[in-house]
Symmetry: D2
Subunit: 385 residues, 4 copies
């Protein structure tokens, strides 16, 4: 196996040298005044990224700790919840909701499509008993997005709370928490921000806090508790447990870079790389996984693989022969994913992915035209300058 | 406020440059073959540190995520559990046990004393219904230790499972998981290992797994689930969620250093620094918090403060005037703690703590003899060479 | 201008994360026992790299400080010196030799060719007054090499000293100092070793020392003095001036990596990447600069540019539009250079260079077939696995 | 031997984590536009530090490369030069001046005293043939300073050029290049700036350039050449040789920190630490080396050792037993030096030096009162807050 030269996976993605340097800064006591100030400053930067004045909770752990904590906090037994499913992450949320005692409603579409906001509107009107809608802004495993900009206001207008998994959906696509009326949003740092994979970024609206506090079953005195963070830290200045000083340094550094670049510029950069990647895929004669470009994620391009090859086999071949780490389908189908996420949403990175994927498919006997793919990708890139 | 020059707090403690460099290494995909190998290699190193052949689970999050996960996994409603309390962490475990449905038994002593193993033996003999004993090997907030070497075998001999909080108890004191018959042990990296504060190190015996699997209430499909780690990762090679690549790099680096130094040498180093610190405290005319040196922790020296000053006030003064970060009592009493933990368990570090604490007390009007304290500490240090 | 994504320049080249981490390790006093040991250990590793038992001198400064110091030390006024010229670095040495008082003889060939060892042999036989031969093992600006393996023994057999500029010639091509009978060799760390650009690695034979010591004009008590390093450091353990602690850390780290990989494996890796690069260049329909592949450097592929475009213009376009840093001709001609040097002599790196160069030439109106170039390069790479 | 815990040596000194991180940033091509911009930005920051509008030359190598280059450039055979000697560095300059063909005049005082500006004035008036005065602003080996603020204007008023070795004299003491009329000043980064030990910072006045350009013997086409830097880089934008990208990153980082802190604040910090150190030395019953506090350096406190112990023996003992690296006399006498330089000019750092030195002297049988020394130092420190 050759050495790893390029990481183009769908998160954790590459971090910049500046972010890595921050992760390697000295570890201080979590009650050191400098750290306390840094923690609060980082919360404000997260809020700026999310375009929100809601409270920010920075939980220590992979983003899923925030999703689980939020879902457990919001759901009380017997509550009617509408879960939108267009991929494996959405599907998984449904299992949790049932576990937590919700009465589950689902709108589910094929994993290469997106839930139609109109369908949500119609469903909510038909089911006024629904108190919460859960959805995934960016279904990383299939490389598709949901139109949160329309679904958010539909829910808010009906007094329905929203829980949005936007783990890979901030920094790479528009995300306007307050304007869209979103109640609880959960992101990770290791996707479009190019940050460390050990922290969950959570925003909580006043309405969501009210609902959680009223929920007897919401976690309290627990690692999963959002309420602990509210009462102990946000209101009392005492951490419910020791946060990871290193991760917070890394998080602040990657936020600084996105905010200095400008959130909109960061988003535009992801879209530009996605255009390059898609042109390359099509140029090679391969098919994109998403049903249309409208719903294709800006942070990862998912490619439908020919039936003759398997996604794990392809991922392994690319890594072992060309030193490039791509992502496989992760349950969504026989697809392979070239991410352009954080620092890899830039310049020739997608071309590296195209070349590695294309040549690997040739190696595996598939009739792929790598040269045409690379030329098509370069033509798009050239036009972007 | 002056700048921070020395961190002598009781965890997170200082990390070495080598550990920090590891934390700043490139972030790779968690399924990159190199990372998978590193993860498994790190598990083996943790096992070596714990002197165990039990399974190792490396959970993403502060050590408390491991403690909560373990307690929830082991405790079923109505189970009789004996909790040993000699400090705030032990006390907190009792609240959890009750929350999780246990019938709580407690042996509690003053927070400057240690539970007597004989008392445990007697209690277990009198209460054969007890199925689990929970205890804290090193009560960091009060700087005292429990004699796990005796309590472990007492429990094992009676078929009683043990859950040991040894967050600050590996690397700085003897800890023989298998020889002492301990079932579930939970440590953090940010204490005597000088590692990152974002990972929980858990060892699980076969008996403990059996108990967890039989427990319907044990967390499953949850961030808190130990069972997920067993079934998905240990048996299936699939991570239940994305581990923090950075933290794992940092963890392996600090383990490498402890193992290269030798676990016994690392322990001896902590004991040596504790001797220096205690001599300095007494030399200044101050009193140690622990009732006897036998039960004083090797990783942190807790000092009983004169009533005229408050521990938070003292900690703040030391930090703001002398750039040294100590730890306060954290609920255990009016005490201040000078840690010698990981890299700070070395050479003149405790002397820095003595000088900073002593002069601060003088500043605050206390009749402390700093020069005598420093001389006493130096005399001990000189003899150690 | 877009951001820098890929550095494929001909030195300084990219350093690995491990080398960068070493450069960022704490700076210690240069007489700290640990640093003294590290310095001597590093000297031994340099000797291993050079395959020599000669003395090693590690001068603080870019490699040219070693070349100037060596030339000044060896050349006394009136000494006959044969200088081999096949590029700008060789040409520059001739100017120096004249400045330093030598009677200059030169064999010069076109800058895309290499001096024939037979011509050297013939010249030396015809001019027995020659005491020193100066040559460049790897003419980085033109991407060509000299056959030191044959010229070295020719000189040694005639008692003629050799001064070899091998700045980019260790780690990427065979270099057998002792077997080839080379007297003074000077390398840099920032080329095939992927190290820091601030240190000159010099090997000195006993015969060369004798010649230097006998030379009244050899620098003494000077930053340029090799004799100072011999008498003060090698014999006396005292540094003539403070060495750069950071650079030494970086140097040792990059040496460790090359030695762990194996010098031969490192060389093979450079040759493999050169094959990929040349196939790509030819596949695009472009011409290589060196007259034949036999004399093409393994660490950098120089490409003859169409007359219609200028090398600086091309380098600038590639950097500004595609975020790739290539090297221009540096005086050798209208050529552009894609380096595969140190860490970039690996996998798809040359393909990135081909794509960026090719598309830039298209942008500039040249009829280049980028897709064919990339396919040709990938075909070679695929066969190497 | 115990491990190194504290570096309190007189340069290289400790670098901050931020400076170290900069040293470990990716190495780019030296003609990358980003690096070119960083290089020029760094020149401007050096000028700001030196309070000058003169040209800045950043030579690659230890500071001595700048001193040698400047002296060789300024001195032509037969030129009368007045060299001020109050320590080993000044003495060494005299040897160089003679080597380079100057007619040497010297004012020399004992190595614990300072040259009197009035003596310089008198000497220059008596010797109008003198064209250049050479002096050392801060004689690091003996821990004394020269009054450049008075000597500079004396020389300027007489049209005499000045060459000032201020290697450890910027950042820790007032240094006003233009106001004092200084022509060529040479500093290093590894002293009061806490930077890397591989770069020489040189300022050159218009008059000095004129003198150099008129000097046939000034180095040209040489690593030592200041003229090359002027003609090639300052005027032509071409580097005379590859600068160390890493060192420049480190240099800019340490400059940023000093400039953000404020040069005056940085100086005040050094003076404060010197006060603490001197109080500690005297409190222990030891004698300072400088004849008076007026001429004691702010960056290093030199202590006269009792005759019964040798400075190398003491330095070794302190390092081997207490993990603290001090500096010995380096030829200036039987003295030991505790530096408070760059990051170690802060808080309790001098106290660490006092404790380690004091206890070591006790170990070696000297009647030193460590406790009193530490108390005296702490008393001064307490008053500074």
């Amino acid at each position: 196996m050759v050495q790893l030269d390029f990481t183009l996976s769908a998160g954790p993605t590459v971090a910049t040298p500046r972010t890595l340097a921050a992760l390697g800064m000295p570890i201080t006591y979590h009650y050191d005044p400098d750290f306390l100030e840094a923690f609060r400053r980082t919360e404000r930067k997260v809020a700026e990224l999310f375009r929100t004045t809601n409270d920010i909770v920075l939980m220590q752990g992979e983003a899923i700790v925030g999703l689980e904590g939020a879902a457990r906090s919001l759901v009380s037994p017997g509550m009617h919840v509408l879960n939108l499913v267009q991929g494996v992450f959405g599907k998984g949320m449904g299992y949790w909701l049932t576990d937590f005692g919700a009465v589950l409603h689902e709108i589910e579409v094929a994993y290469n499509e997106a839930v139609d906001p109109a369908a949500v509107e119609e469903y909510l009107d038909a089911h006024p008993e629904i108190e919460l809608v859960t959805l995934v802004a960016s279904e990383t495993p299939s490389g598709t997005v949901t139109d949160v900009s329309r679904i958010g206001p539909i829910c808010r207008a009906r007094g329905v709370l929203t829980l949005v998994d936007t783990v890979s959906g901030v920094g790479g696509m528009e995300f306007l928490t307050d304007e869209w009326g979103l109640d609880v949003c959960v992101a990770g740092a290791q996707k479009c921000l190019g940050g460390p994979p050990g922290v969950a970024l959570v925003t909580v609206s006043a309405g969501a806090w009210q609902s959680m506090l009223a929920n007897e079953r919401a976690p309290r005195s627990s690692y999963l508790s959002l309420i602990d963070w509210k009462t102990k830290w946000l209101e009392g200045g005492v951490f419910p447990y020791t946060p990871s000083v290193s991760d917070m340094h890394g998080l602040e550094a990657c936020l600084d870079q996105v905010l200095e670049e400008g959130v909109d510029a960061s988003i535009a950069r992801h879209f530009a790389s996605a255009d390059v990647a898609r042109a390359g895929v099509r140029g090679m004669g391969l098919e994109l996984w998403p049903a249309s470009d409208d719903i294709a994620a800006s942070c990862v391009t998912s490619v439908r693989l020919p039936d003759a090859v398997d996604h794990i086999e392809v991922r392994t071949h690319v890594r072992e022969h060309y030193g490039v780490m791509l992502s496989s389908g992760q349950g969504a189908g026989n697809l392979i994913r070239i991410a352009h996420m954080g620092p890899t949403a830039s310049g020739l990175h997608p071309v590296v992915g195209i070349a590695a994927l294309g040549r690997s498919l040739v190696d595996l006997g598939q009739p792929v035209n790598v040269g045409d793919g690379v030329e098509a990708a370069l033509a798009v890139l050239s036009n972007q300058q």
